[in-house]
């Protein structure tokens, strides 16, 4: 078997070297980007108080320490928004799928295209054993490389969100760590199954690209709507106050929950979103505002209540007054206002959730592999 695995690597030399080189380079790039962020040594407090360069004059004169703090925070956020950082993050998301597809597509299909399948299948009594050797080679190539990429992505996630524990947070959790391995294996299995069905590399590659990227795009929504929903719990009030629904920025408790769904209540009775909108329509008073004078700051308008002019319940304006509308609810006891309750997976459930979703990906991979193993036994070698 070892000899067969070695020969499979040699046979698919180009794909092996290309995927290994890309993964090693991406791992190195992610670690370098993480190092760049960490080496800025920005105190967490600076990131938490940074307001995108806006300095509130009502807070009094800016001290030298505050200015330095703002400077550090600015350089941190500039780095996170840089082109190379965005490129690395994009590649961290895509490479597991692309690597799986590139390794999987020619595994069986190229043998059929190039006419070598009859040679191998005539020698091997069991085509399934023949395929197993090739699949093992693919798994042995992808698993360690993707683990390295995933761990580097975890390091980068930690650097992008100082104070966040990547192993107790759902921030970008499917694009880093162990799930990378299973995304790659699922893409690999799906693609070599398509290659076995089609017997052609390029169609298998194209279909796999389309299917994998749709699957990846729909995965999060699908999981939260259909799979994870029963497991969600009401978000802890303390977490809500500390971190909001999900921490994507720096700071917080070090743990980020995953929002699954929410429920709205009015006077203790569960209502729909439409009913919440109706409530705001009935209870909100909007008035046209005069045109803002030069130098007036946005903060001078009281939009602190949730039912601000951007609210979905805001009435359509017959005309657009120069200052827009300002909407307010009359003084109402807060206990009678619409209440929203978040249902989340707590960040501390990271490993359980990752194991569950990785298991689902593995099941998908095994299902695709089973199709390939059944079909390879039935199909013609040409």
């Amino acid at each position: 078997m070892l000899s067969r695995i070695r020969l499979t690597f040699k046979q698919h030399r180009f794909e092996t070297i290309a995927v290994a080189a890309v993964c090693v380079a991406l791992t190195a790039a992610a670690l370098i980007e993480a190092y760049r962020l960490n080496s800025l040594n920005v105190p967490l407090s600076c990131l938490q108080t940074y307001q995108g360069g806006f300095i509130d004059p009502s807070q009094g004169p800016v001290t030298a320490a505050q200015a330095h703090c703002n400077e550090l925070a600015k350089s941190f956020f500039d780095t996170t928004r840089s082109l190379d950082m965005n490129l690395v993050q994009l590649l961290l998301l895509l490479v597991p799928l692309i690597a799986g597809i590139v390794v999987g597509a020619p595994l069986v299909a190229r043998e059929i295209e190039q006419g070598t399948a009859p040679l191998s299948w005539a020698l091997s009594g069991s085509r399934r054993r023949w395929l197993l050797g090739k699949v093992l080679a693919g798994v042995l190539l992808l698993a360690p490389l993707m683990l390295a990429v995933g761990l580097a992505a975890n390091v980068l996630e930690g650097a992008l969100n100082p104070g966040l524990n990547p192993y107790a947070s759902f921030s970008n959790y499917l694009g880093r760590g162990v799930p990378d391995v299973f995304w790659a294996l699922a893409a690999f299995a799906g693609t070599f199954a398509l290659g076995t069905l089609f017997g052609r590399t390029m169609p298998a590659l194209v279909v796999a690209l389309v299917v994998c990227f749709f699957a990846r795009a729909a995965w999060d929504a699908g999981m939260t709507h259909f799979v994870l929903r029963p497991f969600a719990v009401q978000q802890d009030q303390q977490d809500q106050q500390q971190s909001g629904i999900v921490i994507y920025g720096p700071g917080g408790s070090g743990s980020a929950d995953m929002y699954v769904y929410s429920k709205s209540f009015i006077d203790g009775k569960e209502v729909t979103d439409a009913q919440v909108n109706d409530w705001y329509n009935q209870n909100m008073v909007c008035a046209p505002m005069p045109a803002p004078t030069s130098g007036a700051s946005a903060s001078s308008t009281d939009l602190s209540s949730p039912d601000a002019s951007s609210s979905p319940g805001a009435p359509a304006a017959p005309d657009n007054p120069p200052g827009g509308f300002a909407c307010q609810t009359p003084t109402i006891d807060p206990s009678h206002m619409p209440q929203q309750v978040m249902y989340v997976l707590p960040g501390k459930w990271y490993w359980q959730t990752v194991a569950f979703e990785s298991g689902l990906l593995l099941l998908g991979a095994l299902f695709c592999a089973a199709i390939a193993f059944v079909w390879v036994d039935r199909r013609r070698p040409y």
Partner: protein
């Protein structure tokens, strides 16, 4: 129509019983009955589309027959693929080699796939032909690639060798070398070979038995010598004594119509042919049988 009645002694190395195969509406094999005796080197001859490749592919379990059965060394390859393939060495139609692998890698791969593959034996065969083991297979000439395919098939030390038009893409010298290596191996190993070809002259010196396939049916199945002796060729419709017409076809120049006659079973083949008849060459025999049922046949090559 068969002469000789297939295997006369011992178990057949390869046997087909009522074997039929259709591809949609096209009939590739039509109730083929065939027995290849152990130790023989059989030429499977017929034009393109005659069903030669289909027959071999069914023997390799690459195709499933629509009806009937085939046995390779007594084993049905569709029902017991592993068992059957262990007994077969196969050389495909086009010498397919792995582009990135060396000759030695091919032997290693064969060893990893086939439990009883004899690497040393295959290596010796290639050494004798001066094919470097460290050379990349995609840089071999057509003849060398065919020899590599043959060495891999012979290395299995299989009892039955199935060769699917291995000579089609080779130059005359490479063909001769290929045939020689095959015959040496068959003699020394005592194996059975079925060599398909649509070029009669390629196989007539190598084989001791002839099977002619045409239109999915076995037109002739007999020892090679018997095929030569039992037929006569005439330019006119004047049969030799006691002979029956097989088929008519155009002569090489295309001017005359020749008729192939089959002598009566009891007739003395050594008797002096009539003035207007002559001993048929193997090519004539093949042409005559292929022309049967088609009217005036065209030249086979």
């Amino acid at each position: 129509m068969t002469l000789g009645g297939g295997a006369s002694t011992g178990t057949a190395a390869l046997a087909a019983h009522g074997l039929s195969k259709r591809f949609k509406k096209k009939v590739a094999l039509d109730k083929v009955d065939l027995e290849i005796p152990v130790g023989s080197v059989t030429a499977l001859v017929g034009p393109n589309g005659a069903g030669k490749t289909t027959l071999i592919r069914i023997c390799m379990a690459f195709e499933r027959p629509n009806s009937g059965a085939v046995e390779v060394d007594g084993v049905d390859p569709w029902k017991h693929r592993s068992e059957a393939l262990r007994r077969v060495g196969y050389v495909p139609q086009t010498p397919a080699v792995y582009r990135g692998l060396s000759v030695e890698d091919h032997l290693s791969m064969a060893r990893s796939l086939h439990s009883s593959f004899d690497v040393d034996y295959a290596r010796r065969r290639l050494d004798q032909l001066g094919i470097p083991l460290d050379q990349r297979a995609d840089t071999l000439s057509g003849g060398q690639a065919a020899q590599l395919g043959l060495a891999v098939a012979l290395g299995t030390r299989a009892k039955v060798l199935l060769l699917d038009e291995p000579l089609a893409n080779l130059d005359p010298l490479a063909r001769r070398e290929f045939i020689q290596v095959l015959l040496d191996a068959v003699k020394s190993d005592g194996s059975t070979a079925l060599l398909s070809s649509h070029i009669v002259t390629d196989v007539e010196d190598a084989c001791d038995r002839l099977v002619i396939l045409g239109g999915g049916k076995v037109r002739l199945d007999c020892p090679l010598e018997e095929a030569r002796q039992a037929h006569r060729l005439t330019e006119a419709d004047s049969p030799p004594a006691g002979a029956t017409a097989v088929g008519s076809f155009l002569s090489k120049g295309g001017k005359d119509i020749l008729t192939l006659w089959r002598l009566a079973p009891g007739a003395d083949p050594s008797a002096e042919p009539g003035q207007q008849s002559e001993t048929a060459s193997l090519e004539d025999v093949v042409l005559g049988y292929l022309a049967a049922g088609r009217g005036v046949g065209l030249q086979l090559n």
